[in-house]
């Protein structure tokens, strides 16, 4: 029997990210070598030519045929951008600041525009083509700061650190190629639909840049290891003081004019309990207003949703600072702070649960001629009640942990003890209290988690 199956068309293999990176890395290496022996002129023409050649090779290797028009356009764009960049910044910059970064990005508009145009021509979606241009410009904007954190560009203003000004064709070229890498990657990704490539490149750059900003540096890290010897300051933790011998159990309350004394650890728990109960109670109606399913009308939905989103952005200790400022220090301020904090968390969690509740019982309730809120109460509330209880426990866990640190800004609770002892450099006591808190939080959390698991 002769197999007479119709000739099948094998799909061409998908484009591999690797095939793109290889030529660019190779040409980068060439440029670095060239740059370090000082053969690259500052005109930018040569630099641009090599960068665009690398890009075209990449397309070739990725089996994306580029017509002469497209190739010419891409090359022209890249060369124009490199020339612009070098004309505008022939020497090491005074400093790398926002304005310079943005201007530098704008020099790369020709390249970005050409890439977006090619992407459009090659049938990429309009939004994808737009993204290509944005990625290209974003890469250009990141190039200078990234160059600084890599050490390939040393702005003149940092010369006081006793380093040589670093700026040469080769170094510049690395920066340019980094842009090309991301830009061409974005173009390829748009044509061949590999979004992870853009994401990966952006994350890489963000991390390198952010790392340089928070002071991440390997030598520093090694130096810090030397500081490990300071840890013994904490040891041994002074449990005897923490549990009974110390007087912090009975430090005066921070209530002005009040003679009563409060136990800070107990106060911490009190703050957490009260804030949780109040916050969860108030957020119950708010959550129903913040869901399209149960809001009575659009304006109340918008207002409530906006309110919740707004209070959600304010961190817990910021609330505490605001209330300590307006009400004076003490547990009252702390309770209010955690109240708003719980309100925000609970409303978000619960309103999302309400969103996903079954709408049909509500319709049935409305069909009986019920008013809006009674219908919501009997048809939707029972659906979300178990989640509500579970979330309340979760909010309590968070609040316990948050109430520990309230005292750092004077909002009551055990944080105040930590702050005081830290001021006395009694790190052994700090550690003892921290461990004590840790045990407390841990126990409460495990109980709460066990309860929650039984609920939902």
């Amino acid at each position: 029997m002769i197999d007479e199956a119709a000739p099948q068309i094998r799909p061409s293999p998908p484009i591999r990210v690797r095939t793109l990176f290889l030529p660019l890395i190779v040409s980068t290496a060439g440029l670095v070598v060239g740059g370090s022996v000082g053969t690259l002129g500052p005109s930018g023409l040569f630099w641009g030519a090599i960068a665009s050649a690398g890009m075209l090779i990449a397309f070739r290797l990725a089996s994306i045929a580029v017509t002469p028009l497209e190739g010419g356009l891409l090359s022209a764009g890249v060369v124009a951008s490199t020339v612009l960049s070098t004309l505008a910044m022939p020497n090491a910059p005074e400093s790398v600041d926002v304005l310079r970064t943005v201007t530098f990005a704008l020099y790369w508009l020709p390249a970005a525009g050409a890439a977006a145009f090619v992407a459009l021509r090659r049938g990429a979606a309009r939004s994808a083509s737009f993204n290509v241009a944005v990625a290209w410009l974003g890469a250009a904007a990141l190039a200078l700061p990234a160059g600084v954190s890599f050490g390939v560009i040393e702005p003149i203003e940092s010369l006081f650190r006793g380093r040589e000004p670093v700026f040469g064709g080769g170094h510049y070229a690395i920066v340019g190629l980094a842009i090309g890498l991301i830009g061409a990657g974005a173009l390829l990704a748009a044509i061949a639909r590999i979004p992870s490539l853009i994401a990966g490149a952006v994350v890489l750059f963000m991390t390198l840049y952010a790392g340089s900003q928070v002071g991440f540096s390997v030598p520093e890290l090694i130096k810090d290891f030397g500081n490990i010897t300071k840890v013994p300051n904490f040891l041994p933790p002074d449990f005897k003081w923490a549990i009974g011998g110390g007087d912090w159990w009975w430090v005066p309350s921070w209530e002005f004019g009040s003679a009563t004394r409060a136990n800070p650890l107990v106060e911490t728990i009190r703050i957490a309990v009260l804030a949780t109960v109040l916050g969860c109670a108030v957020s119950l109606p708010l959550s129903f207003l913040a869901s399209t399913l149960t809001a009575p009308n659009r304006p109340s939905y918008m207002v409530d949703k906006g309110f919740i989103n707004l209070i959600r952005t304010v961190p817990d200790l910021f609330w505490a600072m605001i209330f300590v400022t307006s009400l004076g220090s003490g547990a009252f301020a702390g309770t209010l702070a955690l109240f708003f904090f719980s309100l925000a968390i609970m409303s978000k969690l619960l309103s999302e649960t309400v969103d996903s509740a079954d709408p049909r019982p509500l319709e049935a309730a409305k069909a009986t001629g019920s008013k809006h809120f009674p219908a919501v109460r009997s048809a939707v509330l029972p659906q979300v009640l178990p989640n509500y209880v579970a979330y309340s426990l979760y909010v309590f866990e968070i609040n316990i942990r948050a109430s520990v640190v309230l005292g750092l800004v004077g909002a009551g609770g055990i944080g105040q003890v930590i702050e005081t002892q830290r001021g006395f450099f009694r790190f052994d006591r700090v550690l003892a209290v921290v461990i004590l808190i840790f045990v407390l939080v841990f126990v409460i959390e495990q109980v709460s988690i066990a309860l929650r698991r039984r609920l939902v």
């Binding site: 900003q213 810090d224 109960v277 952005t313 200790l317 307006s326 640190v405 921290v434 840790f438």
Partner: protein
């Protein structure tokens, strides 16, 4: 509504179940379990009634002053780098957390690692999680000194705990079939993870990383309170000077930053989980009717003009961009 015959009604009444009393009792027990601790807590706070009654007015006085932030170039120039620092701390902290929690999550998952391994690792993650970031930072300060790096490390360590736990729960929730399939073709433990587990869990774990980043940006904002970098120190300082409009600037910029991160991150998360892209603003623009396009175009133009105007103002007045 006319009733059925009398005799039948009596018969059925006899069959009625009694209302379970236990439920009512349970309800009262719950109410007591919530209200009694709340009352106990309230009683211990030592707040006089007139203080409570006066509180809204006191808060309002401050809040309306905070709500009028000083958006002059000088104020923004001072606060913005701090906000950015918080952002960077959160980013790197999340990266550290993601990097270290990823392998730990596999070791902690009950279905892919042995009890002797997963138990201690899980407890370790729980322990890390229980210590608030601020306390971690406090313990770190003697070692790494004051500054952003300390805060970053603290966030990173705490994130290892939370991300490790969440990720290991994702791993525990996977379908075991593919693991067996890879094992059946002779895959070793690493191959099993790489080809059977990672593809299944990656979207959810990625989404958790992003979610952690949203949380970390809030957490990093408060690290400044103890001198571990970020915008918190600035807020404290301005509040101490009782310069409320400057404090308002800090709050305003923080809220803007957190809101933008939330919005973008939530969008990306949804996309990762659903696996397909939602129409972005540009696509919405292109798909909309002409009047919507015009409206959006005007909006964008106004926004750009505003930014440019602001930039020019900042530059001419104080030279924001000349560092």
């Amino acid at each position: 509504m006319t009733g059925p015959p009398r005799s039948r009604e009596q018969l059925e009444t006899a069959m009625r179940p009694t209302r379970p009393r236990g439920q009512l009792l349970f309800r009262w027990a719950i109410a007591a379990a919530v209200l009694l601790p709340a009352l106990w807590s309230a009683s211990g706070l030592n707040v006089s009634l007139d203080r409570i009654l006066g509180a809204p007015a006191d808060i309002w006085r401050i809040v309306i002053r905070l709500a009028q932030p000083d958006l002059s170039a000088g104020a923004v120039q001072r606060a913005l780098p701090k906000v950015m620092e918080s952002f960077f701390i959160a980013w790197i902290g999340t990266m550290i957390g993601a990097f270290f929690s990823f392998p730990l999550a596999f070791l902690a998952a009950k279905n892919v690692s042995r009890g002797a391994v997963n138990n201690p690792i899980r407890q370790l993650l729980n322990a890390i999680r229980a210590v608030p970031e601020l306390l971690v930072a406090m313990v770190l300060i003697p070692v790494t000194g004051l500054g952003a790096w300390t805060g970053t490390l603290a966030l990173g360590i705490h994130s290892i705990g939370t991300l490790g736990k969440l990720s290991s729960e994702v791993i525990e929730g996977i379908d075991g079939g593919p693991i067996e399939a890879v094992a059946a073709v002779g895959g070793g433990p690493v191959a099993r993870m790489r080809f059977a587990v990672v593809p299944q869990v990656m979207p959810n774990i990625l989404a958790y990383w992003l979610y952690r980043f949203e949380i970390n940006i809030r957490a990093s904002a408060v690290l400044g309170v103890i001198g571990a970098g970020g915008v918190g120190a600035e807020l404290i300082a301005q509040l101490r000077f009782r310069d409320f409009s400057r404090a308002g600037t800090v709050l305003f910029l923080t809220i803007i930053a957190v809101l933008s991160v939330d919005t973008i991150s939530a969008r990306v998360r949804r996309r990762i989980i659903s696996g397909h892209r939602e129409p972005g603003p540009v696509a919405a623009y292109l798909a909309g009717p002409w009047w919507k396009r015009a409206l959006m175009l005007v909006g964008v133009a106004v926004g750009v003009a505003l930014v440019v105007f602001l930039a020019i103002q900042l530059q001419t007045e104080v030279g924001l961009f000349d560092a």
